[in-house]
């Protein structure tokens, strides 16, 4: 067991190193001149050269990579050209919103996915219709889904807000996590909790739509197989009701692949935030990345990529280990 975790840890480090190499390579091929960008367009060539020397851009590539690795490991991601703050500080500002959105969307995707899978497993016309609707929904460009969702639930029905994390008239608790749902509970503030939840619904749903479908389909297929297993037949023979069997035996024994699919989907979810945060004015990393792209702010772009990439790699590592812990068959793989 420990051996397995050790192996996966080594792989994790290798992958993170690979990620750093790629991000560094991106920085190296960028056609712009970061030193000039920092000192300003009207600066003298001497000033640019001095800045380039200070930043180490005049050193050979391998040396620069080692410098970069050292700096990154110590949490220094240079300064944003736009906000003029250290990128690491900016990421700290924007990360909680994205974390809250990504977690909520993951939970929602799980719930929707399992619900749909059970509906599909139970069969029926309604389930097919539901599936068709989801497939159709997932075939439309995401930005359109988001905007139409705002049009329906905000503009027409007036039931959900369109933008932001929380109503701007509320005083936010200065919480320990930066996650409004958690912080408001800690502070005992139902107003903020309700508002934060209402603001989460549309963006989380838009983000969860595709992963939910993926999870549902994985789960439905595994369920179908599990329900043909011998122990299920035994349970049937014992006279247990189909619903109980499905829940007790089916779901438990088919959770693994769905969990893995969930981990995979997390990467897509992270990329999806760039679009979702833009439309729902969600003050997170996606918004930060998008603004940085529009400003050619490369320290910020690469810093965000590094953070999102690391999050993805770590989440999948955890899924992997959790799976191995839960299912003894995997340990031999």
């Amino acid at each position: 067991m420990l051996n397995l975790i050790g192996k996966r840890l080594v792989a994790l480090v290798a992958v993170l190193l690979g990620l750093t190499v790629i991000v560094f390579a991106l920085q190296a091929v960028i056609p712009s001149d970061p030193a000039r960008a920092m000192v300003g367009a009207s600066a003298s060539p001497a000033a640019v050269a001095a800045k380039a020397h200070e930043l180490g851009y005049d050193k050979p590539l391998p040396t620069r990579f080692l410098d970069y690795l050292g700096r990154t490991a110590s949490g220094n991601l240079q300064s944003s050209l736009r906000t003029r703050n250290p990128v690491a500080d900016d990421l700290r500002t924007f990360a909680p919103a994205t974390l809250e959105l990504a977690l909520s969307a993951s939970v929602l995707a799980g719930v929707m996915g399992v619900g749909l899978a059970l509906a599909l497993a139970a069969g029926g016309r309604l389930a097919r219709l539901l599936r068709l609707m989801l497939v159709a929904g997932a075939s439309v460009p995401g930005f359109l889904v988001a905007l139409l969702a705002i049009l329906v639930f905000y503009s027409w029905l007036h039931v959900l807000p369109a933008s932001g994390r929380v109503s701007d008239s509320l005083v936010l608790p200065d919480g320990p996590t930066g996650l409004l749902l958690v912080d408001s509970l800690v502070a005992g503030d139902p107003g903020v909790f309700g508002s934060a939840l209402a603001h989460l619904v549309l963006p989380a749903f838009t983000l969860a739509l595709v992963p939910a479908l993926a999870i549902a389909r994985t789960l439905a297929t595994t369920l179908e197989q599990v329900m043909r297993e011998d122990y299920v037949r035994t349970a049937r023979a014992k006279g247990l009701r189909e619903r109980v069997i499905l829940l007790r035996h089916g779901l438990r024994n088919s959770a693994g692949p769905a969990l893995t699919m969930g981990g995979l989907q997390f990467g897509l979810l992270l990329a999806g935030i760039v679009v979702v945060e833009q439309i729902f004015s969600w003050p997170g990393l996606g918004l930060y990345l998008n603004q940085s792209i529009a400003f050619s702010d490369f320290p910020a772009i690469t810093g965000t990529t590094l953070l999102l990439g690391t999050a993805y790699v770590v989440v999948n590592f955890l899924v992997d280990v959790a799976q191995a812990l839960a299912d003894p068959r995997i340990r031999t793989v």
Binding site: A11, S139, V145, M261, T305
Partner: protein, 326 residues
């Protein structure tokens, strides 16, 4: 959402591949994303344990043919777009900007007076061919890496597959954004960036098939007969990997079109004035309320392409299952 590299994932996902041992999971492959390889192998293996019921298989045979019809129509449109379109994709018509849909301009005109119907036809061509291009390139790189690894075995296999795993473990869509943002938006950059992140799956699939086939008696026989290694791979092993690769490719088309659309939305897609469906829809979004046909017509075309690709991919997948299970 729309970094929809996976939109369709959903669809292709769970269709069960047959050979239990081979990591041919087109299921997971459709994610276009990466995953810790070990877990995927397990996923593939577990998914593979099932057998589709006989009734389902028989009804699907007809369904595959039915599902191929829209794909055939769309491909025909893509190829024949220049003949079918009443106007060129860049021609500014006399109807002026924002003309309402009418007999004269079936889907109206866009913000500078180009015929939307014609642009959608050309857009189907661009998007369809772009998606196919990325997939073909990804599959080609993947096939090369996979077959070399599978045929060579030993340390070559180990090195190549560890490299593949590394790429699989990275968040492909996020990297694609970073690559395009760094190189600057152009259709070529976008396609290259996507191809770079798209190949590892194919490498895995091909390698798995090649390894599995290499152990089969006919490959053994060929080897004993003194067939050269290259020839063995090309003639006897690689053809066996074609089916799962095709399945994965068909499932990927929808994903790619939606990914291009999402990149366009954040300003990193096909640059203007290219008639690319995602870009047209993303750029037309400003006119959604006053002139809804401008963004909606290409969006529906995207949905149509994605849907056709997904459904067909799904059914082909089952069909191949059925064949291998027989």
């Amino acid at each position: 959402m729309a970094l929809a590299i996976d939109r369709a994932t959903g669809d292709g996902a769970p269709a069960a591949p047959a050979a239990p041992a081979a990591p041919t999971a087109p299921a997971a492959a459709a994610t276009g994303g990466g995953a810790p390889a070990g877990a995927l192998v397990v996923l593939a293996a577990r998914l593979g344990r099932g057998r589709p019921s006989r009734n389902r298989v028989e009804s699907d045979a007809g369904a595959v043919r039915a599902a191929l019809v829209p794909v055939a129509i769309l491909t025909a449109i893509a190829v024949l777009a220049p003949l079918l379109a009443p106007h060129g994709s860049l021609d500014v018509t006399t109807a002026g900007p924002f003309a309402k849909p009418s007999l004269h301009a079936l889907l109206g005109t866009d913000e500078i007076g180009r015929d939307v119907f014609s642009r959608v036809l050309y857009g189907i061509r661009t998007s369809w061919l772009s998606a196919l291009g990325v997939i073909a390139l990804g599959a080609a790189i993947g096939a090369l890496v996979g077959s070399v690894a599978g045929a060579a075995g030993g340390w070559v296999d180990t090195v190549l597959m560890r490299l593949t795993d590394l790429f699989l473990s990275l968040p492909a869509p996020v990297l694609a954004i970073a690559v395009v943002a760094s190189l600057g938006p152009s259709l070529m950059h976008t396609l290259v960036a996507l191809s770079i992140v798209w190949w590892p799956w194919y490498a895995r699939i091909v390698r798995g098939e090649v390894r599995a086939l290499a152990a089969r008696p006919h490959a053994e026989a060929a080897r004993l007969a003194g067939v050269s290694r290259t020839r063995l791979v090309l003639r006897h092993l690689l053809p066996g990997a074609v089916a799962p690769v095709v399945v994965t490719m068909s499932l990927d088309v929808g994903n790619l079109i939606l990914t291009l659309a999402a990149l366009s939305f954040i300003g990193l897609g096909a640059p203007a004035p290219a008639a690319e469906l995602g870009a047209m829809s993303a750029r037309g979004l400003d006119y959604l309320f006053g002139h809804p046909w401008v963004p909606l017509a290409p969006a529906f075309a995207v949905a149509l392409l994605a849907l056709a690709a997904n459904v067909t991919g799904d059914l082909i997948n089952r069909r191949i299952d059925e064949r291998t299970n027989r």
